[in-house]
Amino acid sequence: MRIVVSIKQVPETTEVKIDQAANRVDTEGLTRIINPYDTYALEEAIRIKEASGATVAVITCGPEKADESLREALAMGADEAFLLSDPAFDGSDPVATAYIVARGIEKCGPYDLVIAGRQAMDGSSGQVGPSLAEELGVPTVSFVRKIEELKDDYIRVQRMTDDGYDVLEGPLPMLITVVKEINEPRLPSLKGLMKAKRVTIPVWSAVDIGVDPARVGPAGSPTKLSKVAPPPPRAGGEMLEGTPEEQVRKLVARLKAAKVL
């Protein structure tokens, strides 16, 4: 079995600066980490490897420094890593990103299972996983909270829904996106990090993976980010003073005035 995990490198925090003059988010100088959701995807793949002997490949599309996140994934227990990096990829929207990652996954070899995170912490779109499945032509189950059974050509999973969960089964190859509930990710070991330093990670450009230049970057993306702004400030808060009884009475009166009680 060969599993591919699709990860993204993101800023460590969501407290970012907005450069209003340039109309963009400024993440310069922030520490970059593996998207926290993707650590669940990685952990699940590594557990499958430990339980039944799979190969785990990890892939990302990003700037050259995304290489560090791939090495961290190797240190957690992944076997191979691939970096898709080309200035032409900058500014791709999720549809274009999924197209790029799909061509990268196809170049890196045959696969049985692709695992992605539920969403990236920065863009928070949650699109790339399902879109990637569509590009690859494989079935998807999103929001997987448990793999119940996995065989060479078959998988049965629990998918988190708004009411509880669904149990679904289907053939491999398949793509799943996973939620936090699925496991508790390990940290990369120091020894693993040392070893991962020496691994040569292939870096593939647009030409290497044969993507159509008209379908990547800002010009190749169907959506455009026309503006970024801070969220509207919340109306000034009010502290309810007095004894506990008075505080509760004031609160109930306010909620009644707002017609929510």
């Binding site: 920065d122 790339v128 708004d162 980010l225 909620l255």
Partner: protein, 334 residues
């Protein structure tokens, strides 16, 4: 992708689960009605499922001009394959200009696949949608855990897809005098790949109000102090006919199941009232509830960051305040 010049009308996915329309679909119909305004655009509700024709009338009363009824056994329970295959077919036949889908667990899975299949763009988890003569759909969506609001356009590709966060538009008041028509979709000859089987649907929420759909959410954090003590939080939630939420600290401690977690790695909610009890207000928690209409904070530490976003704050012991509040609410609700 369909030609821009031929695209018209605003579509909404009318999702039903077990024969009942989900709230966000009705919210989306009401929103689409406003977007269509007095222009020549019609609002179409695309109703997918098995034996669901009976739901058409409530979609018309909510604001749909046309209900596009697509019935098939394979549409009974949600699976990406048949939903995407049939929707692709319908989009090709009727050529909508915009298509709004609820950003719940169904829509978040389906919409990206559909966007890629159709070669069009998607703005996901939008909190606001407006209509512009030149650009069509103008979408506002949070990024970076709600710390950045982005305006997303889809200038050329059609239909413009958007998924709408539950509770970000009001639920329309049904208008029994509204007239609309029902269009039965011809699904014969559509090539459907049906690769994933649905074996079981487990409803762990039971009769409880769902977090995403609740008008009032009462959440507890580490300040609650233990699993049994969460009955205090649950008591207030029940009295308000609302849902119970929790911070990650409470979930990680094993006091409440993960399905209740609100925040960056949990659920994003936007109720009319969010009551945070014994929650400090870490940025990751705020990411999941900051867009609530009214935030009430009950915390014994006057310097807790939650008070910076709270509409109404009470400095006090939750074990004193919450039971008293529960009694007062019970009295109000009769």
């Amino acid at each position: 992708m369909i030609p821009k010049a031929e695209a018209k009308n605003i579509w909404v996915l009318a999702e039903q689960r077990k024969g009942k329309l989900v709230n966000v679909s009705l919210e989306a119909v009401g929103l689409a009605r406003n977007l269509a305004g007095s222009s020549s655009q019609e609002v179409w509700a695309v109703l997918l499922g098995k034996d669901v024709a009976g739901l058409a009338e409530s979609l018309i009363q909510a604001g749909a001009d046309v209900v596009l009824l697509a019935e098939d056994d394979r549409l009974a329970g949600f699976r990406d394959d048949p939903y995407v295959d049939y929707l692709t077919h319908l989009v090709g036949v009727y050529k909508p200009a915009a298509f709004i889908i609820g950003a719940n667990s169904t829509g978040k899975s389906l919409a990206p696949r559909l966007a890629t299949r159709l070669g069009t763009g998607l703005a996901s988890d939008c909190v606001e949608l407006s209509w512009d003569q030149a650009d069509g759909l103008v979408a506002t969506r949070p990024m970076y855990g709600g710390n950045v609001m982005a305006t997303v356009l889809c200038p050329e590709a059609r239909p413009q897809l958007a998924s709408l966060r539950p509770k970000s538009a009001p639920r329309p008041v049904p208008d029994p005098s509204r007239k609309g028509r029902i269009e039965k979709a011809d699904l014969s000859g559509v090539n459907v790949r049906d690769r994933v089987r649905l074996l079981e649907q487990v409803d762990t929420a039971g009769d409880q109000v769902k977090l995403e759909e609740a008008d009032i959410i009462v959440s507890g954090g580490r300040g609650v102090g233990g699993p049994e003590k969460f009955s205090v939080i649950k008591g207030l939630a029940d009295a308000c006919k609302g849902a119970m939420g929790a911070s990650r600290a409470a979930v990680d401690a094993g006091w409440v199941p993960y399905t209740h977690q609100v925040g960056q790695t949990g659920k994003t909610v936007s109720p009319k009232v969010y009551v945070a009890c014994g929650i400090s207000g870490a940025i990751q928690h705020l990411a999941g509830m900051k867009s609530s209409d009214i935030i009430v904070a009950i915390n014994k530490n006057p310097d807790a960051p939650i008070f910076k976003v709270a509409t109404l704050g009470i400095v006090g012991d939750l074990f004193e305040i919450v039971p008293m509040l529960t009694e007062a609410v019970k009295k109000e609700m009769g």
